[in-house]
């Protein structure tokens, strides 16, 4: 019998037994890391966003490969019942698929032996007012999994748009704990996939478009207790800056800048929220993520470099203290929120020195590669040669060299600014193939005009202060508003693009790379595609019910490799479609750029699963049949 679990259903009697265990020993010596790492190595599992702590969306599975990918057929699908945009990807652990949805943030557990059977579903009842403070559609980016410790059951960690972080029993869907991590009354929301490191759940928040001061919080997964909270702006102790911060690169800035680079108390409403992706290096116990844009978007209202918004953060997982922080876009003028994916790799730099690296395609049009142990900047290259806001990035100083022509300011309408506020790369979770040393990146090819205006700050209200017009970049079709995206293969050491192709719309959701010499991705107009990862040749595609803003994932079940992807258009690029908006400046400028999207796809959330020849559990026609008793 399926279980439907609502928020009102709190703790079951079984929790009393757990309580005893808790009282006897809250701290277990065994951390989740080892088990999660072990689980992530199995082709059967996809245990976290990015697949592993390297966050490389790479599978060593070769069952589906360049020779047979044309035989890939639809295997099964699952409707989430939700219409709005579906970012991220499901998790698969030990034969169960965990599916998240857009608001109201349902969670489903599906038995992969019989995916037509919902094992349990969690249907939170949320304050509908949360929808009115969501920036860009009602998306959610996914779930986290904690494998349990023998005393406490495995848990699914999820965020709700209304600001809650919730732990669910992975076997039953019952709520294990539920904390308030954001307050919609002051503009804070939750759209991010939480992240599990050791026995810690890490989560940021959304809301920089409402002047939310960014913060990152860690909770003890076993107890729901807050372990640390650090901010993106403000005094050093609140940001997590100590004596050794940026010791290897003092020119990035060190103490006092979280207030000194703001005028007055503007840092209190200064943005820098993090709602993107994490990576983790257990060897140095550092988590990596990016802080977002400063608030408001109107740069004239916040003089200064606005530290530490727009920063690649490396924090100690246990204490939250910053080891290093590299601000990519000081004094942002374009909403280049720096929250994008962080992918870890081990490669030799140009001098032949083996390095542990972090690669991050930023919204500002630059793809950065840093030494992830000390923050050294290794490379910083344009995501496309049409980037014009920066001329270059000085690798010695770390500073971008701006082209003042494309700066923004009050009493001026900036035109032909590339990238647009959406960035040449947004929230898509990309992939890295370590055997080829190639990153596969979904790209936006969108530019904009930008005109700021003044506005007061009122807690819980939008605090943007700019009007935007977006349109295809120089390589697109500006007459027809198409040619808004690209797919590229990038070498972070040489800085070269091995191949690249234009797409009709943004490749918003990200990519999956496999050892089958393939890269998979979804498109906003509703295709899942596979390309030869060496050459970029398009080998296979399939039309999905709705457009894609999430990334593909893969798993094996009973020896069969499957490719899965969430279908469900929306998010920032789909905001005009989902809310039926016409004004080209609405949706923070997205409506104009994507005005033709409605001619290619419509709303509807689902998980779509593929395999060679469509092999699936129902090939045995008796599977899933009704039988009494």
């Amino acid at each position: 019998m399926k279980k439907v679990v609502g928020t009102s259903m709190l703790m079951s009697a079984s929790c009393m037994a757990i309580a005893v265990a808790l009282q006897l020993g809250v701290a277990s010596s065994a951390h989740a890391n080892d088990k999660l790492i072990e689980l992530s190595k199995s082709k059967d599992n996809w245990v976290m966003p990015g697949r592993n702590y390297d966050s490389n969306n790479y599978s060593e599975d070769t069952q589906i490969n360049t020779d047979n990918v044309k035989q890939l057929k639809h295997a099964w699908s699952f409707s989430t019942g939700q219409l709005h945009g579906h970012e991220g990807a499901p998790l698969v652990v030990d034969g169960i698929m965990y599916v998240h949805t857009s608001f109201p943030n349902k969670t489903f557990a599906l038995d992969l032996n019989d995916p037509g059977h919902i094992l349990w579903q969690h249907s939170p009842k949320q304050d509908p007012a949360a929808r009115s403070v969501a920036c860009c559609d009602l998306v959610n980016r996914g779930l986290a999994y904690w494998p349990g410790d023998g005393k406490i059951p495995a848990l699914i960690i999820k965020t709700q748009l209304d600001g809650h972080l919730v732990a669910l029993n992975a076997k039953t869907g019952e709520e294990y704990w539920k904390v308030e991590n954001a307050d919609i009354k002051v503009g804070q929301t939750e759209t991010q996939a939480p992240y599990v490191v050791k026995d810690i759940a890490i989560v940021g928040s959304s809301g920089a478009e409402l002047g939310v001061r960014g913060y990152t919080t860690a909770y003890n997964i076993k107890t729901g207790e807050m372990l640390w909270r650090k901010y993106a702006t403000g005094p050093d102790n609140e940001v997590g800056i100590g004596d050794d911060f940026n010791s290897a690169n003092p020119h990035y800035g060190q103490k006092g800048l979280g207030t000194a680079t703001w005028e007055g108390d503007a840092w209190k409403i200064g943005g820098g929220t993090n709602w993107g992706w994490y990576a983790y290096d257990p060897a140095v116990n550092l988590i990596y993520y990016g802080s977002g844009n400063p608030a408001p978007w109107n740069e004239t209202m916040r003089p200064g470099d606005n530290k530490w918004t727009m920063t690649i953060m490396a924090r100690d997982a246990d204490t939250g203290q910053l080891k290093f922080g590299y601000q990519k876009t000081p004094h942002d003028e374009w909403d280049f929120a720096g929250v994008n994916v962080m992918m870890l790799s081990e490669q030799k730099d140009k001098d032949g020195k083996a390095r542990k690296l972090l690669t991050h395609p930023d919204r500002n049009g630059i793809v950065y590669t840093l030494d992830r142990e000390n923050g050294d900047l290794i490379s910083a290259n344009k995501l496309d040669d049409t980037v014009n806001v920066f001329k270059t990035v000085d690798l010695k100083t770390g500073l971008p060299v701006r082209d003042p022509e494309y700066g923004t300011r009050m009493d001026h309408k900036a035109t032909e600014v590339c990238p647009s506020a959406m960035g040449y790369h947004n929230q898509g979770h990309d992939s890295y193939d370590p055997t080829k040393q190639l990153f596969f990146m979904g790209i936006n090819h969108i530019c904009m005009d930008w005109e700021p205006f003044m506005l007061p700050y009122r807690a819980g209200q939008f605090f943007v202060g700019a009007t935007l017009w977006m349109y295809p970049g120089p390589k697109g079709d500006r007459q027809n508003y198409l040619g808004l995206g690209q797919i590229k293969a990038y070498n972070a050491i040489t800085g070269e693009y091995k191949w690249q192709h234009m797409e009709r719309f943004s490749v918003w959701g990200g990519t999956l790379a496999t050892a089958g010499n393939l890269v998979f991705y979804g498109t906003l107009d509703g295709f899942i595609k596979a390309r030869n990862s060496d050459t970029g040749e398009l080998l296979w595609k399939h039309k999905l019910p709705s457009g894609v803003i999430g990334y593909p994932m893969t798993y094996e079940h009973n020896g069969v490799q499957y490719i899965a992807i969430m279908s469900g258009v929306g998010g920032w690029p789909g905001v005009g479609l989902v809310f039926d908006l016409q004004d080209p400046t609405a949706g923070l400028g997205a409506v104009g750029a994507f005005k033709n999207l409605q001619n290619y796809t419509q709303m509807g959330g689902s998980v779509e699963v593929f395999s060679l020849d469509g092999k699936n559990p129902y090939d045995d026609v008796n599977v899933g049949e009704y039988s009494k008793g």
Partner: protein, 101 residues
């Protein structure tokens, strides 16, 4: 070739500055590379003030509004602590803090 719209001519900048009130010496063009200190490289754009307080760009933030986020988060942290403490004590997660003894 595109023309640069910024008022680059020094005389123009000075005239603008005179109109707008107390202005810092304006950079000819803000490119982000002229740093006062490590990590502190912002400069006002030509014609714009070093400080916006008192200028026509002063957002005149209401301190009460600026304090709301901090107040809200502190209260939520206290409620969460009550919940977690109660959970450790009883093994039961009670969300409604009014029901926690």
């Amino acid at each position: 070739m595109k023309t640069i719209a910024l008022p680059l001519v020094a005389g123009t900048v000075l005239a603008f500055a005179g109109l707008a009130g107390a202005m810092a010496p304006a950079a000819l063009a803000y490119d982000g590379t002229h740093c006062k200190a490590s990590g502190n490289c912002w400069e006002p754009k030509p014609g714009f003030p070093e400080k916006i307080a008192g200028s026509k760009y002063d957002p005149k933030h209401d301190p009460k509004e600026l304090a709301k986020q901090g107040t809200s988060m502190k209260a939520a942290e206290e409620r969460n602590k009550l919940r977690a403490d109660n959970f450790k004590k009883t093994g039961k997660w009670v969300y409604d803090v009014s029901k926690i003894q």
